[in-house]
């Protein structure tokens, strides 16, 4: 697992700290929760990669590896940084 | 349709019933006479939960019209014990834990008892054949086979004084 960050990532939707506080754990939390607000957030933030919540979910389940979670984790990190920048 | 009067001798007691001829023996026993030890678990003569003895012969009471058993001697699980004393097969079922939910037990007991009356010393294979018509979802059958075998070995034979 990647090193827990000095500052844990908080879910941008519900404010929960997932497990280690890493972006990948936050991504898992978002997929796992999967309610409407989380879906909406994911849909908005992965749109630029031509993906949607549901497409990422299905890809995660039908292809070996972890691309969906990694991609979402990157989006989360980016969004968090942007929020901090503001 | 004309209702008929029939006489069933169940566990040594004579019952006079006035029934629709389509009444199944299991319905006569459970619903008309009120002996609910005999169960039903299917509609296809498959599960054996309704097994009773007609003249010492194991029969599925859902596969027989009550009127066909008119005048015959029927035994259900309630008829195995005598004055509070359990029959050997019942004692063996207790000792071996040959039942769990108990829903198949009455039928299983009647198949076992009929087998032992016909063949007091069955082989393991004959025991398995003897209860093949009874489904038990809980026990995996082996404890029932052990119980029948124990009775066959004379474990519960009455001590003659």
């Amino acid at each position: 697992m990647s090193e827990p960050q000095s500052k844990p990532i908080i879910c941008p939707v519900c404010g929960k700290k997932a497990k280690t506080g890493s972006a990948i754990d936050c991504a898992r939390h978002m997929f796992g929760t999967g309610d409407k607000p989380h879906r909406k957030w994911v849909d908005e933030h992965v749109k630029e990669h031509g993906e949607s919540f549901i497409d990422l979910l299905i890809e995660q389940a039908t292809t070996p590896g972890n691309r969906s979670y990694v991609l979402l984790a990157e989006c989360i990190e980016k969004a968090v940084k942007e929020a901090e920048g503001k | 349709m004309e209702k008929k009067v029939i006489t069933l001798s169940v566990n040594g007691v004579e019952y006079e019933l006035y029934i629709n001829p389509k009444t199944l023996l299991v319905e006569a026993i459970r619903d008309h006479i009120g002996l609910t030890g005999t169960k039903r678990g299917c509609e296809t003569v498959s599960c054996g939960a309704c097994t009773v003895m007609i003249d010492d012969m194991a029969v599925k009471s859902c596969s027989v019209l009550a009127i066909q058993a008119d005048g015959r001697k029927i035994t259900t699980s309630e008829g195995l014990e005598k004055n509070g004393e359990l029959a050997p097969i019942q004692k063996a079922f207790l000792d071996e834990g040959s039942y769990q939910c108990g829903f198949c037990t009455s039928g299983m007991l009647m198949s076992s008892e009929a087998l032992l009356r016909e063949n007091p010393t069955p082989t393991e294979e004959q025991i398995r054949e003897g209860i093949e018509g009874n489904i038990c979802r809980c026990t995996g059958y082996n404890s029932i086979v052990r119980a029948v075998a124990a009775v066959a070995k004379g474990k519960y034979a009455e001590v003659k004084s």
């Binding site: - | 001829p21 389509k22 296809t44 194991a58």
Partner: protein
């Protein structure tokens, strides 16, 4: 739910035939009822009159002699046949077949006549009896007639029984010298009906197959005589090669359906295997005897 009916219980065969004639197209005959009551409960069969033959002791008999062969009264139970010493001795295949026919409870109450008349393509007795060249004696108020069991089956659950007609007796000719039968059904549970079944009766004469009757159960709408398989064997000194060829030929004679238990193709495969095995088994036994 069983529909209401009027119950009639004849005391004699004659009385039964009169009742049948009186209610010809609105009645049904019950004997052991092990199959009939199921379909009546499902509402597949509804009747106004139910004529109960179960208690007809007149038809409850097993007779056997060297000349006439075996005669089974129609109300004889499966269990009586299974346990009959004379059958075990003279027609062991019948007793063996009965041992694996459904459960003891069903065999205790169900009758041979009822089974044959129900005409379930997966029934056990018919293929074995046809391989033994059995006949059935039918009776109605008009009289009696005898036909081969092979001709008796016309379609799925259909027989040659005419209006007001019932099976009175099953007749099995004496086994030819140096002959033997073998029967096997393929099933998942030991006493289930066969997904397919094969009965083979072979007669040997100086190491040559003199006669062969091969019957397939549940391989079509009625029991099927695998005549091309028989042809492979008759007149030959039998070898494993020929048994295998007979198996392939039998599959060609079969016309099975696909259902949840097996595809038609797999049924044919099973017929190939079982025919090969049963032919060999019957042959080995015939040559021993």
């Amino acid at each position: 739910m069983i529909h209401d009916f009027t119950y009639l219980k004849p005391g004699t065969v004659k009385e039964a035939l009169t009742m049948l004639a009186d209610h010809a197209d609105e009645c049904k005959v019950i004997c052991g009822g092990q199959s009939l009551l199921i379909v009546m409960r499902q509402g597949l069969v509804t009747v106004d009159y139910l004529i109960d033959l179960k208690g007809l002791d007149e038809l409850n008999y097993i007779k056997c002699d060297d000349k006439e062969g075996l005669k089974l009264g129609a109300t004889t139970t499966h269990r009586t046949i299974e346990k009959s010493d004379i059958i075990k001795k003279s027609y062991p295949i019948l007793a063996a077949m009965e041992e694996k026919l459904a459960s003891i409870q069903v065999r205790n109450w169900g009758t041979i006549g009822g089974n044959l008349a129900h005409a379930d393509a997966a029934g056990d007795p018919a293929p074995v009896l046809i391989s033994l060249d059995a006949k059935v004696k039918l009776g109605s108020a008009k009289g009696e007639r005898v036909m081969t069991l092979e001709e008796f089956y016309t379609d799925l659950f259909e027989t040659a029984l005419g209006e007001g007609e019932i099976i009175l007796e099953v007749q099995v000719p004496p086994m030819a010298p140096k002959s033997a039968s073998a029967y096997q059904k393929f099933n998942l549970l030991e006493n289930d009906q066969g997904i397919v079944a094969v009965a083979v009766t072979l007669a040997a004469d100086n190491g040559v197959c003199k006669d062969a009757r091969i019957v397939l159960g549940n391989a079509g709408v009625t029991p099927i005589r695998a005549k091309s398989a028989e042809k492979v064997l008759i007149g030959q000194k039998l070898t494993d090669q020929l048994f295998a060829e007979a198996g392939v030929a039998a599959a060609g004679d079969a016309d099975p359906v696909s259902d949840i238990h097996s595809s038609a193709e797999f049924r044919k495969h099973l017929i190939t295997v079982l025919t090969k095995r049963m032919a060999k088994q019957a042959w080995d036994q015939a040559n021993k005897g």
